[in-house]
Amino acid sequence: MTESTNMEIAISHPEKPDLLPPPKPPGAMRRLAAEITGQAITVFARAITAVRADWRGIEPVARPRVYFANHTSNADMPMIWSVLPPPLRRVTRPVAAADYWLKTPLRAFAGGEVFRAVLIDRRPEARTQDPMALILQAIDEGSSLIIFPEGNRNMTKDPLLPFKAGLYNIGSSRPQIDLVPTWIANLNSIMPKGEVIPLPLICTVIFGAPIHVEDGESKDAFLTRAAESLAALAPERRAE
């Protein structure tokens, strides 16, 4: 504990407060530790929430894809990651915020080495790399991605917040990629914001039919269509 605190202080820098340097390529021991941690997260997710995949609109085959999902809880990404079959999981990388995942050495290990996240710096004034370039580079290397186009956790009563442009930019730059709407059901009750104890309720991850940016489709029209395809997967709730 003391050691990690010291490390944080040591690397703190006036211009880039609170961020660790991007992770270096790990050694064999750390790769093994990351592998074991990943398995443990999967087993834990299954034991507590009995998380289950519903491949409703697409088959679980290893093709480069972008899974875009609703975002209500910090556990969203590990849930999607846990339900992917292992061959798919190995090539799937979440796109995540560097300011969250590089805050402590533990998070840097989890984000960088367990989930192998594509880390995006959300501070335009401080960043050295263009986020979209990093994302496209990951796709060109053959990775699938998990993204949360709402940008932030949805704390409202609406099913989805307005989508950010990233999904459109990916879809128009790499039109052959399947954009897979991915609805995570029930996580909101499992771990609402501000609660400490997760409830062991059943979580289902629903994968819908993939969409693509069509010729001449405008950004707004596409983002609306994408949000509709995602919201359509939500299990029906009875009228209040």
Binding site: A50, N186, E195, I197, L199, P200, L201, R238
Partner: protein, 314 residues
């Protein structure tokens, strides 16, 4: 204990024999399907048989370990059942702590009380203490919207999934004259007569069923139910040697357990339809959730426990 153990092993071997026959039958059906194809009906049948293998093995292992094994098996079953129930129950953020208490405090305490054999406490712990405590925990968060709906569904989940299920291992804690150390056979008896009655209810319901019990809710028929209960009673009479009952009493107890189980399954079907789901979960391949599998035992167990306690216990 050794006599009971020998009888449990005998029953397990008999169940294995039955499952081997059913598995071979499935493999025979599979071999008749042209190569490179698969028949969905046969595959569903085989999935169900495999699930039955798993359930029989778990159940037999628990029974052979004695009270502790049975308590642990049913505590985990109650946990899985409660998880299914609360996934669909009406709740708000204000109930988070109450629900966490239900899962992580009330459920383990109830099964610990069974293990300790404190009948005075485990029969009132959930109907009295949890019943009064959890609404208090919820009300402290100060959200009155649909309050009665929320606390009712929370309490219902505890009664069905924890209180009722815990009465299966509780059968082992009854003090029955001349039946020392054989309580585990009573559990095997209850589960067998209820499940066999249910299977034959479905079989006869399909063959001769005419009059629906609850039209629009379930395909269950009065004809199927009567045949199922009679079959359960006959099986109960044949298995009377496992119980502290006379053959006639074993028959009556089997019939009572079977009837309450069948109506219990109907009640849980109504809840599922209200919540708009076909199965409670996908925990058991080919069979749905644990609540789908245990719905009959859940309603049969408390009544079976109390009648045995009332008439036979000292």
């Amino acid at each position: 204990m050794s006599g009971a153990t020998a009888q449990i092993i005998l029953l397990t071997l008999a169940s294995f024999g039955l499952l081997i026959a059913l598995t071979l039958f499935g493999e025979y059906l599979r071999s008749r399907v042209p190569p490179g194809q698969s028949d969905p009906v046969v595959e569903t049948y085989m999935t169900r048989i495999y699930s039955w293998w798993t359930m029989v093995i778990f159940f037999a292992l628990a029974l052979l370990t004695g009270l502790f094994g049975v308590v642990v098996l049913f505590a985990f079953s109650a946990f899985a059942a409660l998880r299914e129930f609360y996934t669909f129950s009406y709740k708000s953020k204000a109930d988070h702590l109450a629900l966490a208490l239900a899962f992580f405090v009330i459920l383990p305490v109830q099964f610990a009380l069974i293990w300790l054999g404190w009948a005075e406490l485990f029969t009132v712990f959930i109907p009295v203490y949890a019943f009064l405590l959890l609404p208090i925990v919820s009300v402290l968060r100060g959200d009155p919207s649909r309050f009665l709906n929320r606390v009712s569904e929370t309490q219902w989940g505890l009664m069905i999934c924890v209180f009722c299920i815990s009465h299966v291992p509780a059968l082992m804690t009854l003090k029955l004259p001349g039946y020392d150390g054989r309580g585990v056979l009573l559990i095997a008896f209850l589960v067998m007569v209820v499940q066999i009655g249910d299977l034959l209810d479905i079989y006869f319901g399909r063959r001769i069923g005419r009059t629906r019990i609850a039209p629009g809710l379930s395909p269950k028929t009065w004809e199927g139910l009567v045949c199922g209960v009679i079959s359960a009673a006959v099986v109960g009479a044949l298995l009377y040697w496992m119980t502290p009952f006379s053959p006639i009493a074993a028959m009556a107890m089997a019939a009572v357990a079977s009837v309450s189980g069948m109506f219990g399954s109907l009640v849980l079907t109504a809840i599922k339809q209200d919540k708009g789901v076909r199965d409670w979960s996908h925990l058991i391949p080919g069979q749905g959730g644990l609540l789908d599998q245990l719905d009959n035992v859940i309603f049969a167990a408390p009544i079976f426990y109390h009648l045995t306690h009332l008439i036979w216990a000292v």
